[in-house]
């Protein structure tokens, strides 16, 4: 085991300085103000600027549009972007989808898209969930029917976050409804500027604007098919496992989701200290400390819990921790950003709202508990009528 801090080499220090300078100059107050207004966690200018440095695909070689970063620099880059809440949401989904495109996509399409993924002009969003399906994404009813060298797609997808600033949606469609549920699926990378695509905004509790996308007789060339016909479930599994961090490293896959809680914990500690200095109560109050300490312990546990298990622990700690902070700090905790007297400029209020969706997106915690029960505890699978068939 090894939990030592990593000492940066001179080259890594130079990267850190370059990054700091870049972020200071690009993440201006205007960028944040715009993001607060749009609530979609994306700024195209900033995204393209990242791409111009090769930082959207940091570990790719420079010759392919990457930055040749080593693992330490890549982790640092990711941490810094997350810490500063950089509006770069498309990077994550694009990276996930690229796993499948690189493995199973048409070679010509692949060569065409690769430099654009790196530069930031090709962005991908996920088209899995449907209005009827929730986390049971294999129940997809959106259909694609072959028409010569094209496919005609009809249906709708929920929570296609980033569709309004992406160029392609990685679409899960049913190509054969006579086959068992998981076997009749095919993946496509559908250009979002195709005729018949309609994107409608859906605003959320956690300021994460998402979309409902409708597909009405959308004609797509067969070159946009990713992987074999009716083999979509296997194709999807590369990105899905990466999203669920199955077989991944020891870091909790839910860490990012719990970040606002951590900011709120810091804001609370700071507030308690200031409050005390101005003659208020709290910081030395054992009850206050004890309650705060319990949230810290569970947040630490979340970060220490690996893989899909950490996903459950982090998101549920985010939910319960934020609620407890609201109670601990009192009515001022409910004041949002920009309001007089808001604690940590609204960090607690934000964390409380933001946490709710984290137990759902990317697969609900129930999906993960089922996965833990079946794959880790080896408990017998429940037999639901719709498990294998539509």
């Amino acid at each position: 085991m090894d939990f030592s801090t990593i000492t940066l080499s001179p080259a890594q220090e130079a990267f850190r300085d370059e990054l700091r300078e870049f972020l200071d100059s690009h993440l201006t107050e205007e960028v944040y103000a715009r993001d607060r207004e749009r609530k979609d966690n994306f700024d195209e200018d900033f995204y393209l600027a990242l791409g111009s440095r090769g930082w959207l695909t940091p570990e790719w070689p420079k010759s392919e549009g990457g930055a040749d970063l080593d693992e330490v620099c890549s982790v640092h880059l990711e941490q810094e972007l997350e810490r500063r809440r950089a509006p770069d949401y498309a990077a994550g989904t694009t990276r996930l989808v690229w796993i499948a495109v690189a493995q199973c996509g048409d070679p010509v399409l692949r060569e065409e898209l690769k430099p654009r993924v790196a530069s930031g002009t090709a962005r991908f969003c996920l088209g899995y969930t449907e209005p009827e399906g929730g986390s049971d994404i294999a129940a997809a009813r959106t259909r694609a029917v072959r028409d010569g060298n094209d496919w005609i797609i009809n249906g709708s997808k929920m929570f296609t976050t980033g569709a309004h600033y992406s160029q392609y949606v990685f679409l899960l469609v049913r190509t054969d409804s006579s086959l068992p549920k998981h076997r009749g699926l095919t993946m496509f990378l559908v250009p979002l500027n195709s005729d018949g695509v309609d994107i409608q905004p859906l605003h959320t509790l956690g300021d994460e604007r998402t979309n409902i996308t409708y597909y009405n007789d959308v004609r797509v060339s067969d070159r946009y098919r990713i992987g074999e016909v009716n083999n979509g479930w296997a194709v999807l599994h590369g990105p899905l496992d990466a999203e669920h961090s199955i077989g991944g490293d020891s870091m909790s896959v839910g860490a990012t989701h719990m970040r606002p809680l951590y900011e709120a914990l810091e804001a609370t500690a700071r507030w308690a200290n200031e409050n005390q200095a101005s003659g208020g109560s709290t910081d030395d109050d054992p009850l206050f400390r004890s309650t705060l300490g319990r949230i810290i312990v569970h947040a630490e546990a979340g970060l220490a819990t690996p893989g899909p298990m950490g996903r459950v622990k982090c998101t549920e700690t985010a939910v319960s921790g934020a609620r407890q902070l609201v109670d601990l700090v009192g009515p001022v905790a409910m004041l949002p950003f920009g309001t007089e007297g808001a604690v940590g400029d609204g960090e607690i209020e934000f964390a409380h709202r933001h946490a709710q969706a984290t137990t759902i997106y990317g697969g609900s915690v129930e999906v993960f508990r089922s996965l833990i029960a079946e794959s880790i505890l080896k408990l017998p699978r429940p037999d639901f009528p719709g498990r294998k068939n539509l």
């Binding site: 990593i6 500690a269 546990a301 819990t305």
Partner: protein, 346 residues
């Protein structure tokens, strides 16, 4: 907390740790079936098991070589403690190892350390600072003649006869103890040294107890899981029902996180003790909550059978909360953790 730190998070075992875990794991599984635990419930002690474990170097492994030990790490002992916890081994591993390490650092007389290293002379630790008039429940005091205690700025080795065993929830060798119980009193350190020694010993006790609780919880979970695979209701195994499987999945989530916190806190205490000094309390308080949750789940999963004293799970249930109790309230650890967290933020 590791959000903006560039730190390694490598939980993989080293080769010698794999061997160590295998050797002690085999010993505890083989020599400590539930019948041994039941037979020891009056005394809280299985002397044969203790002897065998010490033949394999249980006590001496983590003692500095200059005192006749094998110089291995607290983390190594924690890995072993997890396996002892899994079978509820009635041996004073946690208190005795922690006390022996403290004796070595405090420069206790060589003959005391020598006798303690073989496990023949059992030493324990009073986990609360001593107040002259008050007695306290000290773990293993019913089998240990030597008690390390902190009193008015001094770290003291009290020697005498083991106390009378006290019937208790865990069937453990806890005993009522006060300084007046001792025949001999040897001041090992005073002032800041005494503070440091006592604080360090308490931190180590918490880490090793947390490790034991991880083992206890892991095994308690397995008992519940196995039961739910075979027990049927309406012709399906109850483990296929989400009302049963989800609480068990939560148990697995808790055990994994607690295990990692124990490992990291043990490593950090020896390699970077000032980076996050509250880590032992974090690992300990979380392991306590997890163990208490898991045993309750596992009792419940087994329904009426789970509360019958014939069921092994009841032994796990009793120990999950009683073992760590002498180290004080969880809420007090929480308060200290928050104070340490806040001190880094201002």
């Amino acid at each position: 907390m590791g959000y903006d730190e560039l730190r390694r998070y490598d939980y993989s075992l080293e080769e010698h740790q794999v061997a160590l875990v295998k050797a002690f794991g085999d010993l505890f599984e083989k020599e400590c079936p539930p019948a041994v635990v039941r037979a020891s419930e009056g005394s809280g002690f299985a002397p044969d098991l203790w002897k065998r474990a010490n033949h394999m170097g249980l006590t001496s492994m983590s003692i500095p070589a200059s005192f006749g030990g094998d110089d291995s790490s607290l983390l190594d002992v924690a890995l072993v403690a997890e396996h002892a916890g899994a079978v509820l081994a009635p041996v004073p591993l946690v208190s005795h190892v922690v006390a022996c390490r403290a004796l070595a650092w405090a420069g206790a007389p060589r003959e005391v350390i020598d006798a303690a290293l073989t496990g023949e002379r059992i030493v324990t630790l009073a986990l609360a600072p001593v107040t002259p008039a008050a007695k306290q429940l000290v773990p293993e005091a019913a089998i240990a003649g030597d008690v390390l205690a902190y009193e008015a700025g001094e770290f003291i080795l009290h020697s005498g006869s083991p106390r009378k065993s006290v019937p208790n929830h865990a069937g453990s060798a806890v005993g009522w103890w006060s300084p007046s119980s001792s025949d001999h009193r040897l001041v090992l350190a005073s002032g800041a040294d005494a503070d440091d020694l006592f604080r360090r010993a308490c931190d180590e006790w918490k880490i090793l107890m947390a490790a034991s609780l991880v083992g206890l919880a892991d095994r308690a979970l397995s008992i519940g899981v196995e039961f739910s695979k075979t027990r049927k209701t309406m012709r399906v195994p109850i483990g296929s029902l989400q009302g049963v499987s989800f609480p068990l999945a939560d148990g697995a989530i808790g055990v994994e996180g607690a295990r990692n916190l124990v490992s990291r806190s043990a490593w950090m205490l020896e390699n970077a003790p000032d980076d996050q000094p509250e880590l032992p309390r974090i690992a300990f308080s979380y392991a306590r909550e997890v163990a208490a949750d898991v045993v309750a789940t596992s009792v419940h999963v087994q329904g009426g059978l789970g509360v019958s004293l014939e069921a092994d799970i009841t032994m796990y249930f009793n120990r999950a909360t009683a073992w760590p109790a002498p180290a004080g309230r969880i809420s007090e650890d929480f308060a200290e953790i928050a104070a340490a967290f806040a001190s880094r933020i201002r």
